[in-house]
């Protein structure tokens, strides 16, 4: 028997809401959304944690400009604080080294992190998810029972095709889906709104393609002043009222 599984619930018990930022495809803005959402929540005074579960392409630390820091040990490990957020990521252990790890090891490492991380008391834990319905998504569903999913997509056909599959899986698994956010919208392109509403999923809004975003990656002050952050704040309003 795996002794870690029985303790995960207890590690998460003092957390108000766990919000997993997911979406079928890579590159749609999941990590930027997760990072900025955590910053916004923290600015609003909520006690916020941020967990990067994308072991194949951990990006949250790049976006926040955070360096790997070995977490302190105290009856487990304590997530280092970054800009007021309790931040846990595999990069604390892997650094910037390439991580050649298969799904079975990703699953094992995910369980280990969930079992030993002492988040303490939090209002929100934002989880940055990798693309797809693989080990991490299946583990999040089975191990983080109360987690709610917020899906990010672009309006592109490729991304919509993938998010549709993810959505139908989450619905089948009876996971709570907060809604779908369309990111990187360009004028003239068609919107995901109609399709998502037809599928019965709350549409949380659109965020335009923001040419200023790239320049603020790694710089939190700048990040919070972007059009992206402004728009995400409005989306967050809907999330906060969707309990």
């Amino acid at each position: 028997m795996d002794p870690r599984l029985a303790i995960i619930d207890r590690r998460l018990e003092d957390i108000g809401r766990v919000i997993a930022i997911s979406g079928g495809k890579g590159g749609v803005g999941k990590s930027v959304t997760a990072s900025v959402m955590a910053l916004l929540l923290s600015k609003l005074g909520y006690r916020t944690g941020l967990l990067d579960l994308d072991f194949y392409g951990p990006s949250v630390h790049t976006i926040l400009g955070a360096k790997p820091t070995l977490p302190e040990e105290d009856r487990g490990v304590v997530p280092p604080e970054v800009h007021g957020i309790r931040f846990m990521s595999i990069i604390h252990y892997a650094g910037e080294n390439p991580s050649p790890i298969r799904g079975v090891d990703i699953s094992n490492a995910t369980i280990e992190l969930l079992a030993v991380t002492r988040w303490g008391s939090l209002d929100f834990l934002v989880v940055d998810m990798p693309p797809g319905i693989g080990d991490t998504t299946l583990d999040a569903v089975r191990l983080m029972k109360g987690a709610e999913f917020l899906l990010v997509t672009t309006g592109s056909k490729v991304s919509l095709a993938v998010v549709r599959r993810l959505l139908s899986m989450l619905v089948e698994l009876k996971v709570r889906v907060i809604g779908v956010l369309e990111n990187m919208r360009m004028d003239g392109s068609s919107s995901a709104r109609d399709e998502m509403e037809a599928l019965g999923v709350p549409f949380l809004g659109e965020i335009e393609f923001d040419r200023g975003l790239e320049d603020s990656i790694g710089d939190v002050e700048k990040l919070m002043r972007t059009h992206f952050a402004g728009k995400l704040e409005r989306v967050l309003g809907k999330v906060l009222s969707s309990t």
Partner: protein, 142 residues
């Protein structure tokens, strides 16, 4: 001392099983995989401390420890070797990172035969519960 978090997992599992079966736990057999480099003495004492302060269903359980050597098997060339062989080439820091997340072995260890990071940890990864034994239990009775 992050080991306490894992020790708590053992007790929580034992308690869960006891509740499910309506029993009181008499014995917990813990297998300690070498890769995670957990100090046996330390872990024993931590585990005993938690058990003492826990629910009466587990409070009197005897704990048995087994140690397991860590074995790695390369998916590319099939070579099998022990963590002991690789440990010589690791810095103290690398070993510590593997102590926290044993899968970090894939970042810091390579197959001694072909150099691949694509190996399986076939044995001795970390803490595992070999078995839990119990006996009939009536609440309140000693």
């Amino acid at each position: 001392m992050h080991e306490l978090a894992l020790a708590e997992g053992i007790v929580a599992t034992a308690l869960k099983e006891a509740e499910r079966a309506g029993l009181k736990v008499t014995k917990i057999c813990v297998r300690m995989g070498e890769l995670q480099q957990i100090d046996e003495e330390l872990f024993r004492s931590v585990l005993r401390d938690i058990i003492k302060s826990e629910d009466e269903r587990v409070r009197e359980a005897e704990i048995l420890f087994l140690k397991e050597e860590a074995v790695l098997r390369c998916r590319v060339c099939g070579h099998e070797w022990t963590f002991g062989e690789s440990k010589e080439n690791l810095s103290e820091e690398d070993v510590e990172l593997i102590h926290f997340v044993p899968e970090m072995a894939h970042i810091y260890i390579r197959c001694p035969e072909c150099g691949s990071p694509d190996f399986e940890i076939t044995k001795g990864r970390g803490i595992w519960i070999e078995y839990i034994k119990g006996e009939r239990w009536t609440p309140g009775l000693p």
